[in-house]
Amino acid sequence: MFELSLFIFIPSIAAVLFLLIRNIKVQYSLSLIIAAIHLTFSFLIFINILQPKLPWFFAIDPLSKFFIMILSNVYFWVALTSYSFLKRPASQRAEEAKKYYFSLLNLYLAFNSAAMLSNHFGMYWVTVEATTLSVAPLIYYYRNEESLEAMWKYIFIVSIGIAFAFIGILFLTLSAKGTVLEGQQLFFGEYVKHAYKLNPTWLKASFIFIFVGLSTKIGIAPMHSADVDATSNAPSPIAALMSGSLRLTAFIGVLRILQITSHTSVNEFAKMLLIIGGTLSLFVTFISMFKVTNYKRMLSYSSVEHLGIISLGIGIGGIAFIGAMYHAIYNSIVKIVLFLSAGNIHNKYKTREVSGVHEVLNKLPKSGWIYLFALFAISGIPPFGIFFSEIKIFEGLLFSPQAVLLALIIFMLLFIFINMSKITFAMLYTKCPNDDIQIESEKLEISHVVSIILLLVVSLIAIANPEIVYQNILNVAKEFNINL
């Protein structure tokens, strides 16, 4: 109960409280304390010092333990850099949005924690829908036409997607007709235990609906459009949150239903769908990278790509599953760095179009170099973590029946890398035609420090490979019947 209140109630109370306390500085310090407590406790749970029992519809199992750690980590760094983001001068109408920023951020934390910790499908559904609602006003932060359209599309399409996921949950109930589970509550654990008794046809239908519905929120092609629009138009800390943790909150629902199928004959079918979804996401990114002219949009497509790789790895199973879990950690961390530097660039040039950005390395040296290294990190260049996780996924793919796919995927990844680098180098090096070269110095901001720490963390986790991370991932894999 104590842990539950830390994870869920305190952020919600803070969110309400912030409507009364209007001072941004106070809000920031309180939010930071909450984030730090959240991070500490998820870390303690992650390294097995705490093993709490949660009441009602919540529980801690290997899956939620792993993902709440990622959420806490992403949230803490985003909260830390939020104040320097809010201090930046904004348009008259965006000033209005600052009042609600921390309030909504805390709601976001509460709902995401609740979704990750829930062990009941109904609770999961309610909280996932609530995360959409808490993030939508944050997308509308800049109060301009683009962000308004992005918010409308995000609310509308994701709500319909989640409604479809609810149909999937109802089908899951149907699949339990005539078994011990009939008339019982929709607890994950019970369903996994009795999974072999479920009716395979309805289970299949349930997986399709939940996967397709939630992929509007995960951003898996072909349902990715609203997600890309929203991520590219949200302010940079929110975009980092969405890429790093919100997509995983939705992914955990797919993993839950996959976990149920992993004890049945439907498993092969479900994995097939994940592989198709993953490959399709890569393909969509491959096509879009040729024509994208907006650097934040490029980063959003990169999120589609990496969630695609994760779902591909999970679909293949075996060692690729382990790789996919590592990939989830690394992707979430590198995305914070990328979006924060993109936010710094946006703040200086006031445009998201690549054509309007020149000589970042001279004008914003710190953000520019960090952006360059983050690009290397996200493209899978050693010593950054994504290289190692992708190698694991490819190894699993090579020894699986779908080995032919590997050639196609590496081909697409190569072109995604080339196009992303082309866009980035154009931003970093192109000289402005009617401007002399002038080297300016950039003030050290908190986002630079955070970025450097996070880039170090990504490579350190990969190189040192802490036993505890591997152990936790193995525990998750065991839930899916994967033995190495």
């Binding site: 009602w56 109904g122 559904w125 309610v126 683009e146 609310i155 709500s159 109802l170 109930t173 949009r297």
Partner: protein, 166 residues
């Protein structure tokens, strides 16, 4: 009426309040505030829309009937729920006005509730209330967004939303 208690009435009354009274009043107020004309602007012929809707319903009812042989489900609520979901989607696809999209979404949502009753899955009251609250807040946020859209874009049709593309 052995297990009857007043507490059992709580959920139905709340659902009635939210779905039948609060949401319609709210949508009505938006229509009056924004001065939206009560004219349907479909992207396809009204006649063909009807034909498509009827055809879909026939297919769904037949399909459900076949399904009910192997699984224990009630045909009428299940099939009407599913038809409502499909028609909600058609309305979102084939109509231009954004406020009509909101009602399409509500039709879809109601269809899901109907399927829920046909499966007789009972969720705990806390979660039922959570679902209801979510639906209400979604409609509420959509209403606010619609207000902003009509003041920023000087219109409330899908065709006004075409800034974001690759």
């Amino acid at each position: 009426m052995k297990n009857f208690s007043l507490a059992n009435l709580f959920l139905p009354i709340t659902i009635f309040l939210v779905k039948v009274i609060l949401i319609p009043i709210y949508i009505n107020r938006i229509i009056i505030d924004l001065d939206i004309k009560r004219r349907i602007e479909p992207t396809i012929q009204q006649m063909s829309f009807l034909v498509i809707a009827i055809f879909t319903m026939i297919v769904i009812f037949m399909f459900t009937n076949i399904l009910s042989n192997s699984t224990d489900l009630e045909v009428i609520p299940f099939a009407s729920g599913f038809s409502a979901i499909m028609i909600g989607i058609y309305i979102i696809m084939f109509r231009k006005k954004l406020i009509v999209h909101v009602s399409g979404f509500l039709i879809l949502e109601n269809g899901i509730f109907l399927i829920g009753t046909s499966i007789a899955s009972e969720l705990p009251i806390l979660i039922e209330l959570g679902i209801l609250l979510d639906v209400f807040v979604v409609v509420f946020l959509m209403g606010i967004a619609l207000n902003k859209i009509s003041s920023t874009f000087k219109g409330f049709e899908v065709s006004d939303l075409r800034r974001l593309k690759d």
